[in-house]
Symmetry: C2
Subunit: 89 residues, 2 copies
C-alpha cells in the first residue's frame, strides 16, 4: 500500500469520471445534441488520460523505485512496458 | 428523436463504460497493480472513442441530413465543426 501514495487521489478522479459518464448517458437519454455529447466525451477522455498519468507517477515513484532497491526490477519493468504499450498511443 | 436512431445503442455503450470505470475505481481501492489499472483505462478510452464515433454517425445520418434537406444547415455544420475540433486529436 505504501507503494501507492496517490491512490486516494486516483480513486477520487475515477469516481468523478464515473459520475461524468453517467451524466453523459443521461444527456443521451434526454436526446441532447450530438455535438454536446461529443464535447463531453472528449472531456472524459482527457480526465482519463490525466488519471492514467497519475497512476504512472505512482508506479514510477513507488513500485519501481522499491523494486529496483530490492533488486527485483525485472518483472516490474516488464509489466510497466506492457502497460505503457497499451496506454500510450 | 427520429434524428437519432443509434441513441439506444449509445446509451447502452455509455452505461457499460460507466460500469467499467466503476470497476477500475474498485480495483484502485483494492490496491491492484498500476499496470492492470493502466490497461483497463486504455480499454475505457477505446470504448469512449467508439461511442463517440457512433454519436458522430448518428449526427451525420440524422441531424445533418435533415438540416440540409430543410435548408437549415449553417448552424448544424458550425456546431459539428466545433464538436469535431474537440473530439478529434
Amino acid at each position: 500500500m505504501s507503494d501507492h501514495k496517490h491512490r486516494p487521489a486516483i480513486v477520487n478522479r475515477l469516481a468523478r469520471i464515473e459520475g461524468h459518464v453517467r451524466a453523459i448517458k443521461e444527456m443521451a437519454q434526454q436526446d441532447r445534441d450530438c455535438g454536446e455529447l461529443l464535447i463531453q466525451i472528449a472531456a472524459v477522455r482527457k480526465a482519463l488520460d490525466n488519471a492514467g498519468k497519475l497512476i504512472l507517477r505512482d508506479h514510477l515513484e513507488g513500485c519501481l523505485v522499491n523494486a529496483i532497491r530490492s533488486g527485483d526490477e525485472e518483472k516490474v519493468l516488464e509489466d510497466l512496458q506492457d502497460a505503457l504499450d497499451k496506454f500510450i498511443r
